[in-house]
């Protein structure tokens, strides 16, 4: 995004120039500063749901999510403190405890953003009890599958389907821990008429919740680097 005022801010002590319409995350990325994220994906509308990207902003009463917070003139941002790390680890633990994550038998073992994040943040065991939910698996689609036990409710699939593919097959149903991804009006995916079988949701899913059938674990590498390109193309088209 651009077109706003140019401002300067400090991230981890470094002076950064930014457009006021950017997010702190974007500015940090431009300047080579790493902030862990999960629900965020370049090219999709940010929702600020996973809270992994929380950073400290001087003067703010609590940490702010970098993916939805815009910079302001003179802002001082800190992206890495022992406190932030502890919080991020705990949030990740919460998500791992929420579903059933047994990596050894997972289709995306080795290519999973959640797993990678856990490694990065040093979450190698859970200190809180795993909840072992019983969640429905949907294997009705001829090409893809959905295992809700591995879903972290990042809603990337919902957004990519609505915003990029324009099909709006996915949505969220239910509240709290019972919230779940559903296709169309909670029909089996295979019967969801709006689904174009484009597979975008599978590609953006950070975990093994959405997967391609008939692919070996080694092949389940997700590709979503083309997303920003698609968004840019769509925007151009709209403006024409």
């Amino acid at each position: 995004m651009s077109g706003g005022r140019v401002i300067t801010l400090q991230i981890d002590g470094r002076d950064c120039g930014a457009d006021e319409n950017q997010t702190i995350l974007e500015v940090a990325q431009e300047n080579g500063i790493f902030i862990p994220t999960l629900c965020h994906l370049n090219g999709l509308h940010p929702v600020g749901g996973c809270r992994i990207c929380m950073v400290e902003v001087e003067g703010a009463p609590r940490p702010l999510p970098a993916c939805v917070t815009h910079p302001a003139e003179g802002m001082r941002v800190t992206t890495d403190t022992p406190e932030l790390r502890r919080r991020r680890r705990l949030i990740l633990e919460l998500m791992l405890a929420e579903g059933n994550h047994v990596c050894a038998v997972c289709v995306v073992n080795g290519h999973c953003e959640l797993q990678e994040l856990a490694l990065q943040l040093g979450v190698d065991h859970l200190e809180i009890p795993a909840l072992y939910p019983r969640r429905e698996v949907d294997a009705s689609h001829p090409r893809f599958g959905l295992d809700r036990n591995r879903c972290v409710l990042c809603t990337r699939c919902v957004r990519v389907c609505g915003e990029i593919e324009g099909a709006h097959t996915w949505d969220v149903m239910g509240r709290g821990l019972k919230a779940a991804i559903i296709s169309d009006l909670n029909q089996p995916w295979g019967e969801a008429e709006s689904c174009t079988a484009c597979g975008k949701c599978v590609q953006v899913c950070p975990t093994g919740a959405l997967f391609e059938k008939g692919k070996a674990t080694g092949e389940m590498v997700k590709r979503h680097l083309h997303l920003p390109l698609l968004t840019a193309m769509r925007k151009e088209e709209e403006e024409r």
């Binding site: 929702v47 809270r51 609590r62 917070t69 409710l153 949505d171 709290g176 821990l177 919230a179 709209e238």
Partner: protein
């Protein structure tokens, strides 16, 4: 309707009231209706019809506060007091727990035109009546200062004439004909009124933000992603601002807003219209819980009446100002009271909060600047316009002005609805007004699931936003639960956490999963199986909720736990066991299974 017409209708109504020798008002708010006030009203009407010489005027009126002792009936005699004078009728009796069988005695008594109250003379018809009389000089009534609940005993919620006679809509017409929007905002700012929905945000500041925001012109073609799912018919077709009244009141045990909506729907509409004129909006929504059918019915009626009288709709009061109001029903999710979730819900999307900024004042309904205020906040507006900011600012404390309505519940004698000036001490509310036993009361819970418990040692504290917050609780929307020694604090915390687990929307991870993990720990500790490490984990999770949740629900969900930990840590520690499963405490005075009887779902 112009100001002269309004005066005429009000005068006619007042005259009709004054012509009667006695005015009988029967409470027809939900509380009393549920214990049979409709039948009492009918019985009194029948009895009065049989004795026209008694010259009675009988009305269904609003809540009189002592809701747990309904049906309540107020009898007033003498001239109708001038509006806003603060004075009561010449003589006024309040009866509690009346039944239809009491009607003959009541009417017969009034017919005798005695000026002294009915006494308990053995065998007399009035004896049972006398026993039901409430002492209006008791602190419960005397200590109240009514602004929001003002004149409830005189207003028939179903008739606009009745509200007009109580001085209604005068403030609106005054604003439309004599004041500029900036002057109104200035008046509200100077009054010091703060939002009553929980946050306490300065109302004048919010109004001026919306007033200054440029009306947004929705783009043609593709909707913005924020608005995906909204139907095209609903979306505005021109620049627009909105005013929304937040009447989603979802705290367990709270019924302040319900009462205001049921008893004085026009007062809320008038507040909304003034707000709309001040900020430059021409459309309003009342977002009401669907669980409040009576409030909805009366609001619907009120809107129709106000439109008919030209007090809503086009060219209000003969001015150039247009304002249309619609009702939207909430589907019973607590989180839909959160302003951004409320917006999503009105737009027809899933009721989930979104990160702020942008705030609704700048980017609200369908992207338009939107003013969102609570019911009680808006119900204060007309009074401030009528009597001035200085009058209002003289009530309350330095930073918390005016009054606050509370729903009192729990281990006290007088439970119900009270309106007190800010700055009154908790002691006065609990022990004097509520007649709670001194020494027998352990703590008071304010603010519901987002609030905390204040122990008896701190009852000297004044009730205002800052001092409650300093104690780890919040003013909240006004629920107040009084707990005695029988309340086990771990269970109190568990009850509120159960509520948050049920009501978390699931959008953000800390709240979606964290609330459940906190609940599991509270249950474990409550069963007497928790260890010191569990207690540490509990605190860590509570801080995580506070610090990283997306909306106020998750951010404040830990308050009941943290505040009970702060003041009643021993109760937690007594329940802990060491790693071998042995109790750390040998006295075992705390029974783990004991439940808080006060707290009901």
């Amino acid at each position: 309707m112009n100001p002269e017409e309004l005066q005429r209708i009000a005068a006619e109504e007042l005259q009709a009231k004054s012509a009667a020798k006695h005015r009988i008002g029967v409470c027809t708010a939900s509380g009393c209706l549920s214990c049979g006030s409709r039948e009492v009203l009918k019985a009194i009407e029948q009895e009065a019809a049989a004795r026209p010489e008694a010259n009675l005027r009988i009305e269904g009126v609003g809540c009189m506060g002592l809701c747990s002792r309904g049906p309540l009936v107020m009898v007033q005699s003498g001239p109708v007091p001038a509006e806003n004078s603060g004075a009561g009728a010449e003589t006024a009796f309040l009866f509690k727990e009346l039944t239809p069988a009491d009607a003959p005695a009541l009417v017969a008594y009034l017919e005798q035109q005695k000026s002294d109250p009915p006494t308990v003379a053995a065998g007399s018809t009035a004896s049972s009546l006398a026993a039901k009389r409430c002492d209006l000089s008791a602190p419960f009534f005397r200590r109240q200062v009514k602004v929001v609940l003002e004149q409830f005993e005189n207003i028939d919620p179903e008739r606009i004439e009745s509200y007009l006679a109580a001085g209604g809509y005068r403030a609106l017409l005054d604003c439309l004909h004599h004041r500029r929007p900036v002057e109104i905002i200035d008046e509200i700012t100077r009054s010091g009124l703060r939002g009553r929905g929980g946050g306490g945000y300065p109302v004048g500041l919010k109004w001026s933000t919306v007033a200054k925001a440029g009306a947004f012109v929705p783009q043609a073609g593709r909707s913005s992603r924020q608005s995906a799912g909204a139907t095209a018919a609903d979306r505005p077709d021109g620049p627009r601002k909105y005013v929304i009244c937040n009447a989603d009141e979802g705290d367990p045990g709270a019924f302040m807003d319900r009462s205001v909506l049921e008893c004085a729907p026009h007062r809320v509409l008038e507040g909304m219209a003034i707000a709309a004129y001040a900020v430059g909006a021409d459309f309003g929504y009342l977002y009401v819980r669907a669980e409040y059918p009576l409030a909805v019915e009366r609001l619907r009626k009120a809107i129709v009446q106000a439109e008919k009288r030209g007090l809503l709709g086009r060219n209000i009061g003969g001015s150039a100002f247009n304002f249309q109001v619609e009702i939207r029903l909430g589907a019973g999710a607590f989180v839909c009271g959160e302003e951004t979730a409320l917006l999503a819900s009105i737009e027809g999307r899933r009721g989930q909060p979104r990160p702020r900024p942008p705030y609704p004042a700048e980017h609200g309904l369908w992207g338009c600047p939107t003013l969102i205020n609570n019911v009680e906040t808006l119900a204060n507006v007309a009074a401030i316009i009528n009597r001035g900011a200085d009058w209002f600012a003289a009530l309350g404390t330095e930073k918390s002005k005016g009054t606050k309505v509370f729903a009192l519940a729990g281990k006290i004698k007088n439970t119900g609805l009270i309106e007190v000036p800010m700055g009154i001490s908790i002691h006065e509310i609990v022990h004097e007004m509520g007649s709670g036993e001194v020494g027998g009361i352990k703590a008071v819970q304010t603010g519901g699931p987002s609030g905390g418990c204040i122990p008896a040692e701190h009852f000297h504290l004044p009730v205002d936003y800052e001092s409650l917050q300093a104690e780890g609780s919040i003013m909240g929307s006004g629920g107040m639960i009084i707990m005695d020694e029988g309340a086990a604090m771990v269970d109190v915390a568990r009850f509120f956490m159960e509520f948050c687990v049920e009501e978390s929307c699931g959008k953000c991870a800390p709240c979606r999963v964290g609330t459940t993990q906190v609940l599991l720990l509270l249950e474990k500790i409550g069963r007497g199986e928790g260890t010191a490490a569990d207690l540490g984990q509990l605190e860590e999770l509570c801080h995580l909720l506070q610090q990283t949740s997306l909306c106020g629900l998750g951010q404040s969900a830990a308050n009941p736990v943290l505040s009970t930990l702060r003041f009643f840590r021993r109760e937690y520690e007594q329940l802990l066991v060491d790693n071998t499963g042995k109790s750390n405490e040998t006295d075992g005075s705390q029974s783990p299974q004991q439940g808080p009887q006060e707290v009901k779902k």
